[in-house]
C-alpha cells in the first residue's frame, strides 16, 4: 500500500508543479535500464535499444510524436552513439514506464531533456556489444568501434553484427557512464533525416488512436452541455436506444481528479454503440435537458469589457519592476492597447481514446502529449497501482497543447469501467471546437515613456488573461507573462503587471503559451516606437537589446520561471541574419511592406521578416517570410525546418483568420468553416536559415511561432500605414 501512496504522491507533486504536468528530471541510471527485457525475437539492451535476432535494431522513443519530429530526432541520438545502420532502424513508442523519464511533450523540451540520457543509452548498448566482440576476439575494447550495425576491429578487419553478438552482449555489465562521441565524429546527428513514419503515413498504414481495434470493443460519443460549467438536468434514453447498433446510453458525471484542471471531464450523456456512426446517430436522437450554469450569459464582448476594467483597476500582480527614472523626466508617452482573441488548438485528429478496464489493471491507447499524467490520474481514480495502468500512445495527429489535457482518456476509462467492455471515445470536430481548453483571450496596455530626446526610457506592459493556473492560485500569472516579463530590452524602467480575470472560456496551453500573445504585443509595440521616433524598426530592436551579454531576469515566480536567461548576443545575431537575408534596407515599392520581429523561448532564438503585398482587390497577401532560428546544436535540420515552415502557416492564420468567441455561454465556432486555418494558397515564399549551433540542442516546436504574426502585422503597417492592435485582421 505504501508503494502505491508514495508513487501517487510523486505523480501528484509532478502534476501540480508544471504546466500540463511535465515531470522534470529523472535519474539517469534508470534510463539505461538495469535489466534486459526479452521477448522471443527482440533483446533489450537497456530501456531504449532492442536488437532482433534478425539483426533489426528497434529504438524505443520515450515521448509521443505529435508532428514535431521527435520520433526521428530522439532515436537519432541513440543510433549515433550505438553505431546503428540508420536506414534499418525501426522506431516504436514506449509504453508508460518510469524508465523512460517524463515522457511528456509540451514545452519544446524533449530534445534538451533527452539529449544526454539518450546518447548515454546508445553508448551503453554500444559498449556492451563492443565488450562482447572484444571478448570473442581477445582484443581490447578500445581497439573496436561500431559502424552501421557492426562492431569492427579496424586493425584486423574483423567485424561481427549486432545480432551475432547479442547472446553475449546482453550478459555484459551495463556501463553507467559510457563515453560519448565527439560532435566532430557525428555521422547522423546534424544531418537532414526523413521522418521515420513517412512510409506508413503515405500508404495509410500509420496507426492513429481511432484505428485501435480490440475484441468486444464498443464506440462512444458524448453529448456535453453547450455551456461550460452547465449540468445535466434530465435525459431520455429510449430514442437513442432505438437506433440500430446502439447498446447503451449512460450518464457520465463531471469529474476532476485531485483538482488537476487538465483532466477535467465535463460530463454529459454517453451513447455507446457497435460502431462509430451508430453512436453518432444515437446521440442525434438523444433528448437532453441541461441546467446551463453560471456561465450562461458569458460573451466575448463581456469578457473584453471586464478585461478592460481590470487593466484599470485589477492589476494586482507586479511581475517585474526594475530600474528607476531618477533625473529623467517623461516628456511624452505612447499608450497602446491590444485585444487578442481566444484560440483553439484544433489538431486535425479529433480527441479520442480507447480504454480497457479490468478488475486489476487498465490498458488504454490513444493520442496524448503526457501519457504518464494520464496514467497517474487513472491509477488514482481506479485505485490501482500505477504500474497496473498502461498507456500506449499512438501516433498523435497534432498536439499544439490541447493534448496536455487528458480528459478524453479519462472519459474512455470511466465508460469502460461502467460497461465492462473496451470503449473507444470519439469527439467530433464540433465537440473539439466547443469543449476545448482554449488559449485565453487577452488585453494588453503598453505605455512607453520618452525623455526630452525622444528616447524610450520607460516601458510598462499590463496584461489581463484568464489564467491557466486559476484565478485563486498563489501565482496566477505563472504561465501568463512569459514573453513580457522576461523582456530583454534596455529601458531605464520596466514594469510588467498582471491581472487574472475569470471567464466562461476554459483556459489551456496553445503553442508557445503566453509567448503567443505577449511576443505579439511587445514586437508590435517596439515597431510603433520606431515609427513614433522615426527610427528603423530593425535598428531600434538592436539598439534596445544593447550590448551582447547574458541577461538574467529574476521574476517573483516559482521554479525555473523565476529565473530567465536571455543570451542577448544570440538574439541580436538572429535579428541581424534575418534582416540581411531579407535585404531589410532595400526600399519597398508601393503596395508592399516589410515587418520584423524576434523572440526568445527558453534557449532558442528566432527572428522573422515578413513581406506583404496589397493585391489589386485591396486584399493583403503574405508573399515572403524570412525566418532565422538558433536552437543551439541542430540534431535534424530538416525536422527543424519543417517546424519553422509550419509555424509560418500558423502565424498567417493567427493574423487573418483565427478567433474563438463566446455568446450566451456557448462557443460560436463549430467546425473548420467557422474556424479556418491556412490553406495551400496562403503559402508564401519561404527563406529559412538555421544558425549552426554548438553545445546542446534547444527546442524548435514552439520557438519559431511567436515572431511570425507580429512581423506580418508590422509589414501591413509598412504597406498601408494601418496599425493592427486587434486580431484577427479580416481580409476583405
Amino acid at each position: 500500500m505504501s508503494d502505491i501512496s508514495q508513487s501517487r504522491r510523486l505523480f501528484l507533486k509532478a502534476l501540480l508543479t508544471s504546466t500540463g504536468g511535465l515531470v522534470v528530471g529523472f535519474p539517469a541510471a534508470r534510463i539505461l535500464g538495469l535489466d534486459s527485457k526479452t521477448n522471443d525475437t527482440n533483446i533489450a539492451l537497456g530501456a531504449f535499444v532492442e536488437i532482433g535476432t534478425d539483426g533489426s535494431v528497434t529504438i524505443v522513443a520515450p515521448v509521443p510524436e505529435v508532428g514535431q519530429g521527435v520520433h526521428t530526432a530522439l532515436p537519432m541520438l541513440v543510433a549515433e552513439e550505438l553505431g546503428a545502420d540508420w536506414p534499418q532502424v525501426r522506431v516504436r513508442q514506449a509504453p508508460t514506464g518510469s524508465e523512460y523519464g517524463s515522457m511528456g511533450v509540451g514545452g519544446s523540451d524533449s530534445i534538451r531533456d533527452y539529449w544526454q540520457p539518450l546518447r548515454k543509452a546508445g553508448a551503453a548498448a554500444r559498449d556492451m556489444l563492443i565488450a562482447a566482440a572484444a571478448a570473442a576476439w581477445a582484443v581490447s575494447p578500445d581497439s573496436c568501434r561500431t559502424e552501421n550495425g557492426y562492431v569492427v576491429h579496424p586493425a584486423s578487419g574483423r567485424r561481427l553484427s549486432f545480432s551475432a553478438l547479442l547472446p553475449t552482449a546482453r550478459e555484459m555489465h551495463v556501463p553507467q557512464q559510457p563515453k560519448l562521441k565527439d560532435v566532430r565524429d557525428y555521422a547522423l546527428i546534424g544531418h537532414a533525416t526523413p521522418n521515420v513514419h513517412v512510409a506508413d503515413i503515405v500508404t495509410g498504414k500509420a496507426q492513429y488512436g481511432m484505428d485501435i481495434r480490440l475484441p468486444g470493443m464498443l464506440f462512444a460519443v458524448i453529448e456535453r452541455c453547450p455551456v461550460y460549467g452547465g449540468t445535466l438536468k434530465s435525459f431520455s434514453k429510449a430514442e437513442a436506444l432505438a437506433v440500430p447498433g446502439v447498446v447503451n446510453v449512460t450518464e457520465i458525471e463531471p469529474l476532476m481528479i485531485r483538482d488537476f484542471s487538465y483532466g477535467e471531464v465535463l460530463g454529459g450523456v454517453a451513447v455507446i454503440a457497435e460502431n462509430t456512426w451508430a453512436a453518432m446517430q444515437g446521440r442525434e436522437a438523444l433528448k437532453v435537458v441541461w441546467e446551463d450554469g453560471p456561465h450562461r450569459n458569458e460573451s466575448s464582448s463581456a469578457i473584453s469589457s471586464r478585461f478592460k476594467d481590470a487593466l484599470d483597476t485589477g492589476l494586482s500582480h507586479v511581475i517585474r519592476n526594475e530600474g528607476s527614472l531618477d533625473h529623467i523626466d517623461i516628456d511624452e508617452e505612447l499608450v497602446l492597447e491590444y485585444d487578442l482573441p481566444a484560440l483553439s488548438q484544433s489538431p486535425l485528429e479529433p480527441m479520442n481514446f480507447t480504454a480497457d478496464v479490468r478488475p486489476e489493471s487498465c490498458e488504454a491507447w490513444g493520442p496524448v502529449q503526457v501519457p504518464r499524467n494520464l496514467q497517474a490520474l487513472l491509477a488514482i481514480w481506479l485505485e490501482l497501482p500505477v504500474d497496473s495502468v498502461t498507456i500506449n500512445t499512438t501516433l498523435v495527429g497534432g498536439g499544439f497543447g490541447r493534448r496536455l489535457a487528458v480528459d478524453y482518456g479519462i472519459e474512455a476509462t470511466v465508460l469502460s469501467r461502467i460497461t465492462g467492455r473496451p470503449i473507444q471515445v470519439l469527439w467530433t470536430r464540433e465537440d473539439d471546437m466547443q469543449h476545448g481548453f482554449y488559449r485565453t483571450p487577452s488585453r494588453h496596455r503598453v505605455a512607453i515613456g520618452f525623455d526630452k530626446k525622444q528616447r524610450p526610457v520607460r516601458w510598462r506592459h499590463q496584461i489581463v488573461t484568464h489564467p491557466i493556473a486559476g484565478t485563486t492560485s498563489e501565482h496566477p500569472g505563472i504561465y501568463e507573462v512569459q514573453g513580457a516579463a522576461d523582456l530583454p530590452y534596455d529601458f531605464e524602467q520596466i514594469t510588467v503587471q498582471y491581472a487574472p480575470v475569470q471567464t466562461g472560456i476554459r483556459p489551456g496551453s496553445w503553442r508557445s503559451v503566453s509567448h503567443s500573445f505577449n511576443s505579439f504585443v511587445t514586437n508590435c509595440a517596439i515597431d510603433e516606437i520606431a515609427a513614433y521616433t522615426k527610427n528603423d524598426p530593425y535598428e531600434l530592436h538592436q539598439k534596445l537589446l544593447g550590448e551582447p551579454r547574458e541577461k538574467t531576469i529574476i521574476l517573483p515566480l516559482p521554479g525555473r520561471r523565476g529565473k530567465v536567461v536571455c543570451d542577448v548576443a544570440r538574439l541580436k545575431r538572429v535579428l541581424k541574419l534575418c534582416a540581411e537575408r531579407a535585404d531589410w534596407h532595400r526600399p519597398t515599392p508601393n503596395g508592399r511592406g516589410k515587418g520584423i520581429a524576434c523572440c526568445y523561448y527558453k534557449t532558442t532564438y528566432a527572428a522573422h521578416v515578413a513581406e506583404v503585398t496589397v493585391t489589386d482587390d485591396g486584399n493583403i497577401r503574405v508573399t515572403r517570410v524570412v525566418a532565422v532560428l538558433d536552437c543551439g546544436l541542430v540534431v535534424n535540420p530538416d525536422g527543424v525546418r519543417a517546424q519553422i515552415e509550419g509555424a509560418v502557416m500558423d502565424g498567417i492564420a493567427t493574423v487573418f483568420d483565427l478567433e474563438v468567441t463566446m455568446q450566451d455561454g456557448q462557443i460560436q465556432q463549430t467546425n473548420f468553416d467557422t474556424y479556418p486555418f491556412a490553406r495551400l494558397a496562403d503559402t508564401p515564399e519561404l527563406d529559412i536559415y538555421l544558425v549552426s549551433g554548438h553545445g546542446s540542442p534547444g527546442g524548435a516546436g514552439e520557438p519559431p511561432y511567436p515572431s511570425v504574426a507580429p512581423a506580418i502585422v508590422n509589414a501591413i503597417y509598412d504597406a498601408t500605414g494601418e496599425r493592427i492592435r486587434k486580431l484577427p485582421f479580416r481580409r476583405t
Binding site: G67, I201, V202, W277, L348, P350, V396, E645
Partner: protein, 157 residues
C-alpha cells in the same frame, strides 16, 4: 445492400445506405487509412475516389458507391509506389501525418484529370485539404515533383 468494388475487390455491403462512406470503410470494411477530421466536408482528410473522382467520404453516403469503384489510400498503389507517394517521401512532407492520406488522394485524382496544372489550379484543387501542421510548402513541392515524374513516365523516359 450496396454493391461496389473497394480497391479492386468486389464487395456487398449490408448497411443503411445513408451511412457515410467514411464509416463504412473504417468500421465495417476495416480500412482505417481514410481519416476522420471534421465530418462536414471541410478538411479533406477523408478523401477517397469514386470511379477516380475525389469525394469527401464523410459526407458521401454509401448509396453513392452503388456499382462504382471506391479507391482508398490503401488501394492507391499496391506498394506505396504511386508517384505522389514517392514524391511525398522524397520531399519528407508529413509532420503529424493525419491529413496526408487525404492530401495524396485529392492530388491523385486531380493530377489524373489535369496532369499539367498551373499553380493557381493546384491551389484551387487542394483548397479543401487542410493541414494543421502547415506542411503546405512541401505539399506543393511534392505535387510538382510527382507531376514531373508522371510526365516522364507518360513520355516513356
Amino acid at each position: 445492400m450496396v454493391s461496389c468494388t473497394i480497391n479492386g475487390k468486389h464487395r456487398k455491403i449490408n448497411a443503411d445506405p445513408d451511412t457515410p462512406l467514411l464509416w463504412v470503410l473504417r468500421d465495417l470494411v476495416g480500412l482505417t487509412g481514410t481519416r476522420f477530421g471534421c465530418g462536414g466536408g471541410f478538411c479533406g482528410a477523408c478523401t477517397v475516389h469514386l470511379d477516380g473522382q475525389a469525394v469527401r467520404s464523410c459526407i458521401t453516403p454509401l448509396s453513392a458507391a452503388q456499382d462504382r469503384a471506391v479507391t482508398t489510400i490503401e488501394g492507391l498503389s499496391s506498394d506505396g509506389t504511386h508517384p505522389l507517394q514517392q514524391a511525398w517521401t522524397v520531399e519528407n512532407v508529413p509532420q503529424c501525418g493525419y491529413c496526408q492520406a487525404g492530401q495524396i488522394m485529392n492530388a491523385a485524382a486531380f493530377l489524373a484529370a489535369n496532369p499539367t496544372p498551373t499553380d493557381s489550379e493546384i491551389n484551387n484543387a487542394m483548397a479543401g485539404n487542410l493541414c494543421r501542421c502547415g506542411t503546405y510548402p512541401r505539399i506543393r513541392k511534392a505535387i510538382h515533383r510527382a507531376m514531373r515524374n508522371m510526365q516522364q513516365r507518360e513520355s516513356g523516359e
